[in-house]
């Protein structure tokens, strides 16, 4: 709650005034039945026309004041709630953007997006409702009771009983339906996902003639959802009727008891009418109060979740200061590097040791899960190495600032993405210093000229959501162009040409070799053809480097490399053509 307080502090004035003005409004509402009682008992009883008119003008004044106070209160409440939530949302987003890969991974992408959307929205409506109602509703409920007390002490007992009963019923119904509702929520999500799954898998489902099974599975899900909805409906259908009965039987009791008081001359008729009016006011506010409690409970849970994210360490990486200047000897060197992913028991890579001279090309090859990409994750300090050191131009990667490093290392990720926006924006990707010429060079080298040409608006073509208007190969080429546009000294291609046909892949490698600034290049691939021209090939197996050298040497000496190579270039063919 301290966490929330920190944000509300900027809207202290609003947070205090909102409930205060709401309370003022409530006071005027509570006074109305009393005024009406005196109209009946004084005005009508004494046939005093002027008194009646005065009192009614008073009522109108109350109404106007009530309206003014209420609107002021709503204004303050909305302001405090919206802008507090907005600030929190911005802070949360900033924090997420600063998170390291490990921190991000420990929370999970979908959890993070939920925090920033639905959790913040819950908090927003929680604050809003709270500021509006936390004084008003209890004030009216108990105020009505106190007013009743002022009018007639003995009748107050009826009020106490009615309020207690209402509280019990509202609490009971809310409590028993709440878990069903959250279950319904989960089942709804499942239905949603099931539809998505069936759309994704439309071809496979049809190919295997599996429609009936899917239909049945979906039917079971919706039936299940339906059963819970009916269960919740059964209970919540009681809420209105039962509260109605309680309050109105309360009215009956007040009239009955009031009559005996009138009979004894203790109460006047108008006072009984006032009591009846107070009774009706209670119901509306009590239901509001129940809703408020539900909203607050949800909002509280959301605050806790957001707070968790904000308080957790967001970057566990270490940074060191090194005074020495970057040297030109080797572009990259790995010195006995081992690394285990957070929460993983085993090392993903072990004792990785190699050097890449400036302008050199290194190929990394190996099977799925052999640790190729992991090696690259340490190059741009996405994670800290568990053991050993990674040096770039002779300096520990941990001594580079993040934005220095991203300038040096141009990464084309394996599971790549393009963002919403034009192709040009995607290639430039926020780097203002990239000129149109640089983009053109990058596009050309990435073999993406024909991608641009095929689009009606060329570089200004908008990329649709999930880059649906681009094929897999087109996407990869644009991602390569994005990395090349910054003219990085070190270019990293993490299996980034897998969707390209091999001819385009070859042309791409040739173009990269021809780039005027001769980037040091890492090529990770499963294809031998992609790496065989490299100055140095690392063969990886089960997290270790099991072979290091040029293609010819490895082909001669390294069993695993041979196996990979000949699985792609059967022996006889090779001999025949070379």
């Amino acid at each position: 709650m301290k966490f929330l307080g920190k944000y509300l502090k900027d809207y202290k004035k609003e947070s205090i005034f909102a409930p205060l003005f709401k309370m003022l409004e409530a006071i005027f509402e509570l006074l109305v039945p009393l005024v009406m009682a005196s109209i009946i008992d004084v005005g009508i009883a004494n046939r005093d026309r002027d008194y009646v008119i005065h009192m009614c003008l008073l009522l109108t004044l109350f109404a106007i004041l009530g309206l003014a106070f209420a609107i002021t209160a709503q204004y303050f409440a909305a302001k405090a709630a919206i802008y507090t939530a907005s600030k929190m949302r911005a802070d949360l987003f900033h924090r997420i953007m600063d998170m390291s890969a490990a921190s991000h991974g420990s929370v999970g992408t979908s959890a993070l997006t939920t925090r920033i959307t639905s959790d913040i929205n819950q908090i927003q409506s929680g604050i809003n409702m709270f500021l509006r109602l936390f004084l008003r509703s209890p004030f009216i409920v108990f105020g009505a009771m106190i007013m009743a007390l002022i009018v007639d002490v003995k009748s107050t007992l009826i009020f106490v009983i009615v309020i207690a009963l209402l509280g019990l019923v509202v609490y009971g119904i809310t409590k028993s339906t709440l878990p069903i509702f959250s279950r319904i929520q989960k089942k709804m999500e499942r239905v949603f996902l099931a539809v998505g799954e069936n759309l994704e898998g439309a071809r496979v489902i049809r190919a295997f003639g599996n429609q009936d099974q899917q239909k049945q599975a979906f039917g079971t899900q919706t039936e299940d959802l339906y059963a819970d909805q009916m269960r919740a409906g059964k209970v919540s259908a009681l809420l209105n009727p039962i509260t109605y009965v309680i309050v109105n039987l309360g009215v009956v009791a007040v009239i009955w008891f009031g009559s005996t008081q009138v009979d004894m001359g203790i109460l006047a008729k108008g006072q009984v009418v006032a009591l009846v009016n107070y009774m009706s006011q209670i119901l509306v506010e009590l239901i509001k109060l129940a809703n408020l409690i539900v909203v607050l409970m949800r909002a509280y849970a959301s605050v806790t979740r957001v707070e968790q994210i904000m308080e957790m360490p967001y970057d566990e990486r270490t940074y060191v200061t090194e005074t020495q200047k970057a040297s030109e000897a080797d572009a990259v060197s790995y010195e006995q590097v081992s690394f285990a992913y957070p929460q993983a028991g085993e090392m993903a890579i072990r004792d990785i040791d190699f050097k890449v001279p400036d302008h050199g090309t290194v190929g990394i090859i190996g099977g799925t899960g052999s640790g190729k990409s992991t090696v690259l994750h340490l190059l741009n300090h996405m994670y800290d190495a568990s053991k050993g050191k990674v040096l770039i131009y002779g300096k520990d990667v941990r001594s580079y600032k993040e934005n220095e490093l991203t300038k040096i290392v141009g990464l084309v990720p394996q599971r790549g993405v393009l963002f919403h926006g034009s192709i040009r924006d995607n290639i430039r990707f926020g780097r203002e210093d990239i000129t149109d010429d640089m983009i053109a060079t990058a596009v050309h080298a990435a073999q993406a000229d024909n991608v641009i040409e095929s689009k009606e608006h060329g570089l200004d073509e908008e990329i649709l959501q999930d880059a649906r208007n681009l094929s897999g190969g087109q996407r990869q080429r644009l991602m390569i162009a994005r990395a090349l546009a910054g003219q990085p000294k070190i270019l990293v291609l993490d299996d980034s040409a897998s969707a390209l046909d091999v001819a385009t892949d070859a042309a791409l490698r040739k173009a990269i070799r021809g780039l005027p600034w001769h980037p040091t290049t890492f090529i990770v691939s499963q294809r031998a053809s992609s790496v065989m021209e490299a100055d140095q090939i690392l063969v990886m197996e089960d997290g270790c480097i099991v072979g290091k050298g040029k293609h010819e040497d490895l082909l001669r000496d390294n069993a695993i490399y041979q196996e990979i190579y000949y699985s792609q270039f059967p022996k006889d063919e090779k001999e025949q053509n070379s």
Binding site: R132, L199, G209, Y226, S259, V273, T368, S529
Partner: protein, 584 residues
């Protein structure tokens, strides 16, 4: 089906009525309950007033009359309670049942609608139509309708009772009615526009946050973080401003309603009291009036909200019916394939996804039973399209494809597809256990058969290492399986249901070549005697094919076996040299 044509609202309403026919009885019952609830509710203030009139003063209580009235009151209260409860139950039933049925219908249509609809439509949109819109529709329709119905009824009933008690005061209330209406309308229209704007801004902001968070690794790799923060802040501030307006304006509704109510209340007070002074009305009558007046504006307020709600419901209905009423693929059962030899002939086939951009034209191809066809060519050359046509995910626009001389359009798609086994580059596994996924195509396979299939496809090793072995629960994208592992599962899945013809579309693209070599043997046995279409980029697969089709821009440019095509020294030879031979 072309694009969404604007369906007229009246048409949608007609369609909704058809859907509601099944619930005729329940709807009539619900309406009866609504009428009774309203009548009983409105009786209470009248009875309260009469009760007050029984108290004339100290020692002058008409006890007999009072008891009778209180008894009637209790009856009316219990009646209201009962009928309201009954109405709630019936309404719940109608709402949930109609949602369930519409959802199921839409889902079933989704399984039989042309693949084209699925390919060309945002999946997210279909998902929200079937999941969310169905809810909004039934909720909105029913709530809207009940509120409208009871609202109008309450207003009419109130006026009726008021006129009966006292015409002049009733006239005061009626005269003030337009104020109610105007205020409600003013607030509602203002708020609606604000909410629209808020929804738009929220959508933009959410989409942006999703995109950036989901791809944070890329964002970080390019130090785009700061820029992302800046852009987010702009969107966020814009959202805050429109949210504030929407929230504030909508929160004016309640106070203004209360204000109008208060005005009517004091109007009734002054008119009633003055009339009472001249004996035109009893204090009890005035009490009844005050009871009505305090509730008078509520139905107006509700009705004004109902119109938007109903419109929204109709809009949602239109979106769901668009799915439910979409044409299913047409099935012909003229012929039936039972035992298949596997001779496949393409006769002058033409096809394109977009009529303005012709893709495949004049394609002729004869595949003998048991032959292996490799399709090669650059990205976008139509390789996958050929498979779309073979499996009838799409139909040819010209010419025909026959299997053993039978036009594939003359048999049902189910019949056609059961003759083909398929592994695609994009692996799809359903959310469920590994076992469920392997038995997907052949639920009757035994445990032994399943394990055997997993062994031959070399999936058994990694399955064994999973926490719960074959009962490990996998989700679509939770990253617990690598792409290569998923492909192995897809291959094992196919091995359990071996049909006479096979389609392998880059089936091993994500499996490393060493593992691939290991499962090659299994592939060989699988392809033995089966007509097989392979889209591949690996030489080993291509070289052994009986026929290689070199495709480019939708045309088969070359066709022949490896040796023939090399000798021809055309496209294939060029591709071959650039890909597989390290000659520069």
């Amino acid at each position: 089906m072309s694009t969404k044509n604007e369906i007229k609202q009246s048409q949608v309403i007609k369609r909704v009525l058809v859907e509601l026919k099944t619930y005729r009885l329940q709807i009539v019952l619900s309406l009866i309950c609504a009428v009774l609830t309203v009548i009983f509710t409105l009786l209470v203030p009248v009875l309260t007033g009469k009760a007050v009139d029984c108290m004339i003063g100290s020692g002058q209580i008409q006890w007999d009359g009072l008891y009778q009235i209180l008894e009637k009151m209790a009856l009316a209260i219990v009646g209201t309670c009962f009928f309201q409860w009954l109405m709630n139950r019936i309404n719940n039933y109608i709402t949930y049942d109609i949602t369930k049925n519409m959802r199921q219908k839409a889902f079933e249509k989704m399984l039989v609608m042309p693949i084209k609809n699925i390919d060309s439509h945002s999946h997210g949109d279909y998902m929200s139509r079937i999941a969310t819109d169905a809810d909004v529709f039934s909720d909105g329709l029913l709530m809207g309708f009940t509120q409208l119905f009871t609202g109008v009824l309450t207003i009419l009933g109130t006026i009726f009772f008021m006129v009966r008690v006292s015409l002049p005061i009733a006239l005061v209330v009626i005269a003030l009615t337009p104020v109610s209406l105007l205020v409600a309308k003013f607030v509602a229209s203002r708020t609606y526009a604000m909410f629209q704007l808020q929804a738009k801004h929220r959508g933009e902001q959410t989409a942006y946050a999703d995109e950036m968070i989901e791809n944070q690794s890329v964002v970080s790799a390019f130090s785009y973080n700061e820029k992302a923060k800046e852009e987010f802040d702009v969107l966020n501030d814009r959202l805050a401003d429109s949210s504030f307006k929407a929230t504030f304006y909508s929160s004016i509704t309640n106070p203004t309603t209360r204000f109008v109510n208060s005005l009517i209340y004091s109007g009734v007070g002054v008119a009633g009291a003055i009339l009472a002074i001249f004996g035109g009305i009893t204090v009890g009558g005035l009490t009844s009036f005050l009871g009505y007046a305090s509730q008078y504006a509520k139905p107006f307020n509700e009705i004004s909200g109902v119109v938007t709600e109903l419109q929204n419901a109709i809009a949602c209905a239109a979106r769901i019916f668009e799915i439910i009423d979409a044409p299913a693929v047409e099935e012909s059962r003229e012929n039936h394939l039972s035992d298949v030899e596997g001779k496949i002939v393409f006769e002058d086939v033409a096809f394109s996804y977009d009529p303005s951009k012709p893709l495949i034209e004049h394609l002729n191809l004869t595949v003998e039973p048991g032959q292996r066809i490799a399709i090669v060519g650059p990205t976008g050359s139509g390789k996958t399209t050929l498979i779309n046509l073979l499996m009838r995910f799409y139909d040819t626009t010209h010419g025909k494809i026959t299997i053993d001389g039978v036009d594939i359009r003359s048999i049902s798609r189910a019949n056609l597809r059961e003759k083909f086994g398929m592994v695609l580059q994009e692996t799809w596994l359903k959310e469920g256990t590994i076992r469920e996924n392997l038995l997907f195509a052949n639920p009757d396979a035994t445990e032994e058969e399943m394990v055997q299939a997993a062994r031959t496809s070399h999936a058994h090793e990694f399955i064994k290492r999973l926490p719960n072995g074959y009962d490990t629960y996998i989700k679509g994208d939770d990253g617990s399986l690598s792409q290569g592992e998923k492909q192995l599962l897809c291959i094992a899945r196919l091995m359990l249901a071996l049909p006479p013809m096979l389609i392998l579309d880059e089936a091993t693209s994500s499996i490393d070549t060493r593992t691939e070599m290991k499962i090659q043997e299994a592939f060989q046995t699988m392809m033995e005697g089966r007509t097989t279409f392979v889209v591949a980029h690996r030489l080993s697969t291509i070289r052994e094919a009986d026929v290689i089709l070199y495709m480019q821009d939708g045309k088969v440019l070359e066709q022949g076996n490896h040796q023939e095509l090399l000798e021809k020294n055309g496209y294939y030879a060029k591709l071959y040299r650039s890909q597989f031979v390290c000659g520069k």
